[in-house]
Amino acid sequence: MLLISSLKKKTKLIAIASLDSPKDFYIPLEGYRYSMGLVVEVGTHLKKYELVAESEGVFPCKIHAPVSGVVKGIVSIDGRSMLHIENDFKETALPLSPLDLRELSLSGLTDHLLDRGVQGAGGSQFPTHLKYQVEGKRIDTLIFNGVECEPFLSADFVLMKERYLELFRMAMLLASVLMVNRVVFAIEKQHKELRNVLLKCASGLGMELEVRLVPNSYPQGGELQLIESVTSMKIRKGFIPSDYGVLVTNIGTLWAMYNAVFEGKPYIERVVTVSGNSCSNLGNFLVRIGTPVAHVLNQTKNSCDLSSQTVVIGGAMMGKAVDSLDSPIHKGAGGILVLKKNRVLVNNCIKCGLCVDVCPQHLMPLEFVRHNIANNIEGLDSFNLQDCIECGACAYVCPSDVPLMENIFEGKSKLF
């Protein structure tokens, strides 16, 4: 079990604040596994909330305009294609149509979620409507994942603290649609002061809610690890939790679902924590999808220098470092972190076994490196590389700074 000092105290008490919207938005055109195709033409004038791109296939996704403005074209930032929208600062918006709750069916709900572009806010951006397509399955437990095990991030915590009424309304709706008896909010032990607040409010609403305190270890917020903590069921990676009667939804996703269902708003903004060990002005901010990192850092009066600092979108353990500060916030980005550059001194593996100790999936990460270097695909397979959840715990503890993640990603690309 790996403990990382959480460093959330810095931001968890700061209320959510809004930022001015930037002039240029870069909408990421990557859906889930497939890239999205434009449905608007370059040069058209968009209204806020208008659908701009979508992908079809097994994992359909949609993305909407976060502001009104002009479509400037497709640009490439950090090797990914983005739709450039120039803000006209008029905020002319399409009328919003909330979901009609009187004749609500599960398929109506999932169609609505797809239409509003709701995707997992916890990082993977899995299309939420697919997760809730559970007709014919019996769901016993609905878990709402407030376990932000990533250090620094507090976006889900402030959402639970400030927007619990919205979250509860959505959770109650889901529980009644899915006919679930057990609704669990999982939070970390370090946030235990939140427990009574949530329970009190839930009993005020007449809602049966269980608040589960889970350890502060990393990666406790991983879906499979959380399911085990709440239901003591160990589900193998690649199997679908709803087949076992469990659904796990991230708090950020739940809030996006609330906005989609009760207000009719597409998923165009989310809460983002600005923090880091090299960041001077911290906080939690409501940021629109597509806002460049540079704009957020400017607005929060942070300066950064990519030659001596690393700017990360997402968390410090699983996020992505940006090469260009124009990189935008995407639907799964819970944070913008300005961090000191890691000093990396690659040494030989000394077989200390720490990576094996901390691996939440009970794998042997050092063997992935060995077999990836030797190009031994059978070896990678026999050590269950496909079960790796890429949490980075092994690379975190490694005293020799062995390039574990590099080899894991490379090995995975050889496997599939």
């Binding site: 499979l224 193998r236 353990m317 470092a321 030989n348 490196v369 690379a395």
Partner: protein, 361 residues
């Protein structure tokens, strides 16, 4: 492209690991200094210099790594080596031991972390084989006149004579090799390493438990062994990272088998080197132990029957190896093992290890 994670714990480099081991060994240096004063410091100085020289020379020549001498592992090896020998060992023997520990125990395997055997113990075996007349003569353990601080009763205040004797002998006893004088100091070092998470409890616990249990079961019929020596081997050598298994259950099994081997060697009449032999023997099996005790991935139902069979077969192999070592000892042929080792590691370096110097694993 920088990959995740973007944070690292502080004080966590390979160098820090080595510094921690050196810190854990400091109490023993102090006790040795109490006992012999300058002699010990001289020997340590010679061993460290010789090890550093060998590391710099051969890492640069053979591995093309010019800075690996800075990682501190040579110092650890030299210290451990000095602690396994008698204080009246001639300085050139110690220098030779440290030199060969680094060359044959570490560099020829491809550098720190790739060695399959504990370098300090390899060095010790080289000394015993190439300076057999000095290292195995009974005179080497006769050094009464050298001692500056004699055994004394530190607990005179205690009423019970037996208890006070026992406590004093645990704290300070000038018998055996230089690292064996103070069980308390060894334990202190072990505690420090445990707290710093440089060793895990698995190997020491299962080793000592097995050894004690076997002693108790068979009944201690005049087995003469040094608790200090066993503890030193348990805490500082059996837990050596590169040569011990990586999985938790593997570590427990590994400690258990070292305990069994130590006991068997003692019973078989090996007088001084029972601990070195048993650790070196299990070093050879540590990769297999790791793999046999590979943890089940999350949510995967393990094949416990297959695993049981694998454990059984492995135990058989190890049992045979223990018996083989005992027979070699009986016929006084142990030194051939060292010759075979030299041939093996040199050939292996030429044809395999030297091509993989830049692989991290």
């Amino acid at each position: 492209m920088i990959l995740n994670p973007f944070i690292k714990p502080r004080f966590n480099g390979t160098q820090m690991v080595m510094i921690d081991v050196i810190i854990a060994l400091l109490p023993l240096v102090f006790v040795g200094w109490l006992a012999y004063g300058g002699v010990l410091i001289q020997l340590i100085g010679i061993a460290v210099l010789s090890a550093l020289l060998a590391d710099f020379l051969f890492s640069s020549l053979l591995l093309k790594r010019f800075t690996s001498v800075l990682d501190g592992s040579a110092i650890v090896t030299a210290l451990l080596l000095v602690f396994t020998v008698s204080p009246i060992t001639p300085w050139y023997v110690v220098a030779f031991g440290a030199f060969s520990a680094i060359l044959f125990g570490k560099v020829l395997w491809g550098g720190l972390g790739k060695n399959r055997f504990n370098p300090a113990l390899v060095g010790r075996e080289f000394m015993s084989v190439f300076f057999a007349s000095i290292m195995t003569s009974p005179n080497i353990w006769k050094f009464k006149d050298l001692i500056q601080t004699p055994n004394s009763n530190f607990f005179k205040g205690l009423e019970d004579g037996f208890l006070s004797d026992y406590f004093s002998s645990v704290l300070f006893q000038t018998k055996g090799a230089m690292g064996e004088y103070s069980i308390v100091c060894i334990a202190l070092g072990g505690l420090y390493l445990l707290l710093r998470n440089r060793i895990s409890w698995h190997i020491p616990f299962s080793l000592l438990a097995t050894f004690t249990l076997l002693n108790w079961l068979v009944g201690d019929i005049g087995l003469s062994y040094s608790m200090g020596g066993i503890l030193l081997g348990t805490i500082f050598m059996a837990t050596d990272m590169p040569s011990s298994p990586t999985t938790k259950n593997g570590k427990i099994y590994y400690g258990l088998m070292i305990g069994v081997a130590t006991f068997a060697f003692l019973k078989g009449g090996i007088r001084y080197e029972y601990m070195s032999y048993s650790i070196l023997l299990m070093n050879g099996f540590s990769d297999q132990v790791s793999l046999v005790f590979k943890p089940n991935a999350w949510g995967v139902v393990g094949d416990w029957k297959g695993r049981l069979e694998a454990v059984f077969m492995l135990s058989l192999k190890i049992g045979c190896a223990i018996l083989a070592v005992l027979s070699l000892y009986y016929y006084d042929l142990i030194h051939f093992l060292v010759f075979i080792y030299i041939v093996y590691v040199v050939l292996k370096f030429n044809y395999s290890f030297s091509n993989k110097v830049n692989n991290v694993v």
